[in-house]
């Protein structure tokens, strides 16, 4: 038990050494993955709402919406138009849960317990995010499969579906960051849920998610141009339809669906970096203040 004296006045205790950075990432990813399987209500809940939206929207608005589509995107059914947006909704709903996990950790004392361990603090957050990303990919692939069963058509096949999942990851980052900022600021589960939901629905409606922008009033088109959901939905939709669908920015340099995907992904990366940096700064400050 006792340490070696190496000439120092105070003998130093033997260090345990801890893990590598990657090891720390895995340890945390495993814990959050395990927690996700325990929390079936959340897992199912984040899927049920988008599924309900998908079924209701296609049934209730299907007839009307197809008319709107004929003027703009032409020749596709509403199921196909809506499915990529629903995939982004899944990503949004899952991302909203990230901050709730953080608040729960602060409340249960696990946040502090992890801070006092030798694990790298960056690895702790990377590990949690990795678990969340895996979850989002699984959920998006599930919802795409269900959509196809219900009549949607993914023109680009499996590769396109995987592409949508990648866009879903990119799309989740800024909302994950927002949800974590809420968590750090409010430190309260209800407030975090409320704050995330409050934004989730207006963002979805005031975007190109549910209808083509040219079928909507001018003010919505203006706001939609500044709404990250528009870019997520457009990128996913371009992948599903295999062609350029973007109406907020006209780009012709890349050809076909890439005229949508490249600018949309660029916008998402900028939004991700800005909000991500804010979240990392606030999490860092919260860890130093040590709750």
């Amino acid at each position: 038990m006792s340490g070696e004296t190496d000439g120092d006045a105070t003998p130093r205790r033997e260090r345990t050494g801890g893990n590598t950075f990657l090891g720390d990432v895995l340890v945390n990813a495993r814990r959050w993955g395990l927690k996700a399987t325990r929390n079936r209500f959340f897992l199912v809940g984040t899927l049920v709402q988008p599924i309900v939206f998908f079924v209701l929207f296609t049934q209730v608005f299907g007839q009307v919406a197809t008319g709107a589509l004929d003027s703009g995107s032409g020749g596709i059914n509403y199921e196909t138009f809506l499915l990529p947006a629903i995939a982004m909704q899944v990503s949004l709903a899952s991302a909203a849960g990230s901050g709730i996990g953080l608040v729960n950790d602060v409340e249960s004392g696990m946040f502090e317990k992890v801070l006092v361990s030798p694990m790298s603090r960056t690895a702790v957050f990377v590990g949690k995010s990795a678990a969340e990303i895996v979850l989002i990919v699984i959920q998006i692939l599930l919802i795409l499969g269900l959509g196809v069963l219900l009549g949607a058509k993914i023109q680009t096949g499996i590769a396109g579906a995987l592409g949508v999942a990648l866009v879903g990851i990119l799309f989740s980052v800024w909302f994950t960051a927002y949800s974590n900022v809420l968590a750090v600021v409010t430190r309260d589960q209800e407030s975090t849920i409320l704050g995330a939901n409050l934004l989730q629905f207006p963002l979805l409606f005031v975007s190109s998610a549910f209808l083509p922008l040219d079928a909507m009033p001018g003010w919505i088109q203006t706001i939609a141009a500044f709404n990250p959901v528009t870019y997520g939905a457009d990128a996913a939709r371009a992948l599903v339809l295999g062609r350029d669908v973007m109406q907020v920015i006209e780009v012709t340099a890349f050809g076909g669906m890439w005229d949508t995907i490249v600018p949309a992904v660029a916008v998402l990366i900028v939004v991700d970096v800005v909000l991500g940096a804010l979240a990392v700064t606030m999490l860092h400050r919260a860890s130093r203040a040590a709750v």
Partner: protein, 345 residues
């Protein structure tokens, strides 16, 4: 050469809003000692312990823990200490075994030793039977024991326990005490904060008394008690305050004790004196002669409650006010670090 687990000099911690939570603490804890850090709520106990485990940065002074500097070598400090926070910290969604396993992984316990270590620790805290139950099904005492187990996965030579028994019932408290003694017997240095004087008395080799951010006394429980100045004679009297006043005057002025301090209590009087035992009967006789009815009396050794009163001029109860009841409460100044205005973390 003495071998210190903790060496702290002139430690200060001033929060952003100017609150001086820790105000110049000097501390040396030798390896193997069971050290108690005793003080009322808001005295700076939790702030001090968080500074020692690297959760807070001291704004002044120097601290070495296990030979490592808490600021410059914080990772080495984290690797070599165990910490049990005041609020029970377990993941409620995981089972007892998973909680301990996560802690093992977090501290880099080699995979080959993990299984054995987990079983050993669950056994030590008597949770082996419920190892696969989720922690949110546990009672407060069981969660505390699980928390304690997770603090020991890396066999740290030094363990910090921040008010580990606050809010627990007496039997759960006794069980934890047993467990802490066992760890200490294995050679582990323990730094324990408590506001229960009895707890410090029961467990600790040495006690530091903290009040308003600085240490006001530091010695073994027995030596601290000697400072009170003798044993205590409690006398209970019939009809309350008027009788107490007269009795106190007799005890002070009748020349029975050469050296005594007399105070009035709820039931009668208390006389603290080296001669409390030998001259006590004389006082009782004098009281009877004065027409007072003694309904009960007792000579006892001083408790740490008496020590605290003698050192700070207050009882610990006065300081605690109503906030102790039920669940664990945070030390006052620590609330400053959390979000503004919240009473809980």
């Amino acid at each position: 050469m003495t071998d210190y687990a903790i060496q702290a000099e002139g430690v200060e911690l001033v929060y952003d809003d100017g609150t001086r939570a820790v105000d110049g603490i000097d501390l040396r804890v030798p390896n193997g000692e069971f050290f108690g850090f005793l003080g009322p709520n808001g005295a700076g106990k939790t702030t001090t312990i968080k500074t020692l485990v690297t959760l807070l940065h001291p704004t002044g002074g120097s601290i070495t823990v296990n030979g490592y500097d808490v600021v410059g070598e914080s990772r080495a400090v984290r690797e070599t200490v165990g910490y049990m926070a005041q609020e029970t910290s377990v993941d409620p969604e995981l089972t007892a075994r998973e909680n301990v396993s996560f802690a093992c992984q977090a501290y880099g316990v080699p995979r080959s030793e993990r299984r054995e270590r987990i079983e050993e620790l669950l056994d030590l805290v008597d949770l082996a039977d419920v190892a696969d139950k989720r922690a949110d099904e546990f009672s407060g005492g069981m969660k505390k024991r699980l928390d304690a187990a997770t603090a020991l996965v890396h066999r740290p030579p030094l363990v910090f326990l921040d008010e580990p028994t606050t809010g627990l019932d007496p039997s759960a408290r006794n069980r934890l005490w047993d467990y802490f003694r066992r760890i200490n017997d294995r050679g582990t240095t323990i730094f324990l904060t408590t506001q229960y004087l009895e707890e410090a008395d029961q467990l600790c080799d040495r006690i530091g008394v903290i009040d308003d951010g600085s240490i006001v006394a530091s010695d073994s429980p027995a030596a601290l008690k000697r400072e009170v100045g003798g044993e205590i004679l409690d006398v209970e009297l019939e009809d309350g305050t008027t009788a107490s006043e007269r009795a106190a005057r007799i005890a002070r002025e009748a020349g029975i004790f050469a050296d005594a301090s007399v105070s009035e209590t709820d039931a009668g009087i208390a006389v603290t004196s080296p001669e409390a035992r030998s001259r006590g009967t004389d006082l009782l006789v004098a009281l009877r002669d004065a027409g007072l009815t003694v309904t009960g009396f007792n000579v006892r050794a001083p408790t740490l409650d008496d020590v605290f009163l003698a050192i700070t001029g207050r009882t610990t109860d006065e300081e605690r006010g109503g906030s102790i009841a039920g669940e664990a409460t945070t030390d006052g100044p620590d609330d400053v670090t959390t979000t503004g205005g919240g009473t809980e973390r």
